[in-house]
Subunit: 319 residues, 2 copies
């Protein structure tokens, strides 16, 4: 129980730090990029007026104008009249950008304009990406019991064999994820976003939750979006929960593949053996002098791999 | 030796299938998207001519023209004169797109225009993303021995303690990866791409190899790029090798964190125990009647976790 309490305390700490890190990122990106964006936006406004004021538009002047328009657009600065009011670097949008960086989704509909912004993006992601992976892993670790271990145990107690039980459980979990994280959100997105079809919604959910993040569909970017900031925060929460469920699916599949002999057949690493909160004790309480080399060469390791021997990492008392 | 041979045969099969899958994707994307792109490109050409031919450019007509220009640009179709010659959906560019889909980098400088293209992207990534993860895992599995196990073993044989040895090895590996996959490629990119600084190169390498893929910098997209197709293929190979090395770094770090007690302290899953080609045999040769439930609830699992007991997955003979 002590360990269980510590486990939840750790998780709360992780999530709290994650939110603080996003807020810190939002503040930094906003303060670095907003002035640069404002300047570019003003320049584009002047350029547009100059273009409109010229008596005769020729091919060369149009080309020159379009090059600048498209370059500004690459950085998320639009010259369109109804887009000029909303900044890409207000606090919520900056937080949304920070979130797409650390989750590696990276839509790229907004990108840093300045060299300082680019350098900060590198540093921010350098810490943020591994930390987000850690938070997601910790969350998945905690939901393994209610969503994987208990249901499979229940199926088995109802008389199913282990392998069909894990297969059926995986199918049910897949169905749940597809419904709650693809079909329902896609329906919501296609009703909130005026120009999105249901297929666009599904496409967005899939491209986002696989962390591909092409950025051709990004929620909350249409002009005059109601409650834009609340909407962006909701999308961030959706992304986090969605990624967590995708990772859970992947781990469950990996465990099932282990059990069905697929990883052994394909000579790939097995899923880790221990998933529960209390099973962190080294299996052998080795004395320091028992320590084996940590990474062994093939020949050396094979000596240990007779039936009944233990994997080399377990022989080191890492506590 | 038989197992070693089978292991390399499997790896060769994986890589061969990966290349075939990319070629298949390239063919499909090219045949789906090229006609739509050509149509849009022609429409944009007509629109541009119409815009140039009008006697008076006013704010409304410019706005209407720019909306269409920016929409086409979102799909990678540029109205600029020097960009109109190169297609985003020729065979190499389609393969590049397919590659950014399956590796989850997803630059998004080119995105599918048609609904068929979007639906195919989902299906293609649905198989491609897990398969690419599998190929990368298989590759990392094979390079663990020469790049991690042997060097650490060597450091230990020279008299170092296990923990400092793994730490020093990790630092050396990190330095190697930073040099070969960040500094050198960034220098190459900044000399090949006319508008890129060295920082832009580093930023591109980092954003790509973290699979964020914002898409503000994409190699081979400048007009009149020499040997563009060869260059794109080289970038694809770089991305694959880079992702492999990032994954190797991550696994080495995970192993080191295990050894230093970090994963235990943070109550996170340990890296898998077995990394070598021949260690796939179940540790206990369990008879069918010995089978324990595959996923156990906390209470049940704890019964097994006395010192000397074995993790539950190992008790199932998965052969």
């Amino acid at each position: 129980m002590h360990s269980l309490g510590r486990s939840w305390l750790l998780l709360t700490g992780f999530i709290l730090f994650y939110v603080i890190y996003l807020l810190f990122g939002a503040l930094m990106f906003s303060s670095i990029e907003r002035p640069v964006e404002d300047k570019l936006r003003q320049e584009m406004e002047v350029l547009k007026q100059e273009f409109l004021n010229q008596s005769c538009v020729n091919s060369t002047s149009l080309e020159r104008f379009l090059v600048k328009v498209l370059t500004a657009n690459k950085y998320g600065v639009s010259v369109l009249a109804n887009n000029s009011a909303t900044s890409n670097w207000d606090l919520t949008s900056s937080m949304f950008f920070a979130n797409t960086l650390v989750t590696t989704v990276g839509y790229g509909q907004t990108t840093p304009l300045s060299d300082t912004g680019k350098a900060f993006s590198i540093l921010y992601a350098l810490i943020g990406v591994p930390f987000t992976m850690l938070v997601l892993t910790a969350c998945v670790q905690r939901i393994m019991c209610p969503l994987v271990l208990s249901p499979v145990s229940l199926l088995q107690r109802s008389g199913m064999e282990p392998r069909p039980a894990t297969f059926l459980h995986f199918l049910l979990l897949l169905l749940l994820v597809v419904l709650c994280f693809f079909v329902v959100p896609a329906a919501v997105f296609s009703s909130v976003e005026l120009s999105w079809s249901f297929l666009d919604g599904i496409y967005f959910c899939f491209i986002s939750l696989c962390t591909i993040g092409l950025g051709d569909f990004v929620p909350g970017t249409q002009p005059g979006q109601k409650y834009r900031q609340l909407y962006q925060v909701t999308v961030m929460v959706y992304l986090f929960l969605g990624l967590m469920m995708m990772y859970l699916l992947l781990r469950t599949f990996h465990k099932m593949a282990d059990l069905h002999g697929l990883t052994t057949f394909l000579q790939l690493p097995r899923c880790d053996e221990s998933d529960l909160e209390d099973d962190r004790e080294p299996i052998i309480e080795g004395k320091p002098e028992d320590q084996a080399p940590p990474y062994q060469t093939e020949k050396e390791a094979n000596k240990h791999l007779k039936p009944g021997s233990h994997p080399v990492y377990n022989t080191i008392n890492s506590g």
